[in-house]
């Protein structure tokens, strides 16, 4: 078992990076890896509630984030500074997350075995 961190830095909808990152996160968890998610920069936009990707030909993979606890993915960290930059308050987010500062993210990246950036 390895500690795998999936880091989301790209926005949802415009590219499929987030979707392919989430696919990997869920599969890693079902392969019994210790998976954590980190959202930074535009990646924090994945966490907004009330998204409707079907309107623009996308698949609603965003709602799959609600299933993270079923996969035992409990470590979901969000960069405090990125949330502030994009003007997002806690109330706008769709799932429970741990809001952390830059130092905490640095420490987390250091603590895991591998980091995959999407």
């Amino acid at each position: 078992m390895k500690k795998l961190c999936i880091l989301f830095r790209s926005a949802p909808q415009g590219t499929v990076k987030g979707r392919e990152g989430l696919d990997l996160a869920l599969l890693s968890a079902s392969f019994e890896q210790e998976v954590s998610l980190v959202f930074v920069d535009e990646g924090v936009l994945h966490l907004l509630k009330d998204q409707q990707p079907e309107l623009i030909g996308g698949k609603d993979y965003i709602s799959t984030f609600k299933a993270l606890p079923l996969y035992d993915i409990e470590s979901v960290f969000v960069c405090k500074q990125s949330l502030a930059e994009y003007g997002l308050s806690h109330g706008l987010l769709s799932i429970p997350v741990t809001v952390v500062n830059d130092e905490a993210i640095s420490a987390h990246l250091k603590s895991v075995d591998e980091v995959l950036v999407f």
Partner: protein, 93 residues
């Protein structure tokens, strides 16, 4: 110790900016592909200066930047492999 790997230009992509935000002072940064262009811009060269910095040699030579980047640490692929193992992990941003 992490080896941060940047492959994209800082003018096109936020990879370098994010790497610098979360890198620790003992980490190293490797620039490859258009990532090497960061060193031509004063603001990024300054931001990179506190870190141990490596640049992929062939990507510098291919871009005609050998003279312009004469004072940086150029590495070949054998050294890239060695550095990947010397560090605890490689994060490609």
């Amino acid at each position: 110790m992490i080896l941060h790997h940047i492959q994209t230009s800082p003018n096109r992509d936020n990879a370098l900016k994010l790497c610098l935000r979360y890198a620790c002072k003992e980490d190293a940064i490797l620039l490859s592909s258009d990532g090497v262009n960061a060193l031509l811009l004063r603001q990024w060269a300054m931001a990179l200066s506190p870190f141990k910095l490596m640049v992929l040699k062939d990507d510098v030579i291919a871009r005609g930047l050998t003279e312009r980047l004469s004072n940086v640490c150029l590495i070949d692929y054998n050294e890239f492999v060695a550095q990947a193992l010397l560090h605890d992990k490689v994060i490609t941003w």
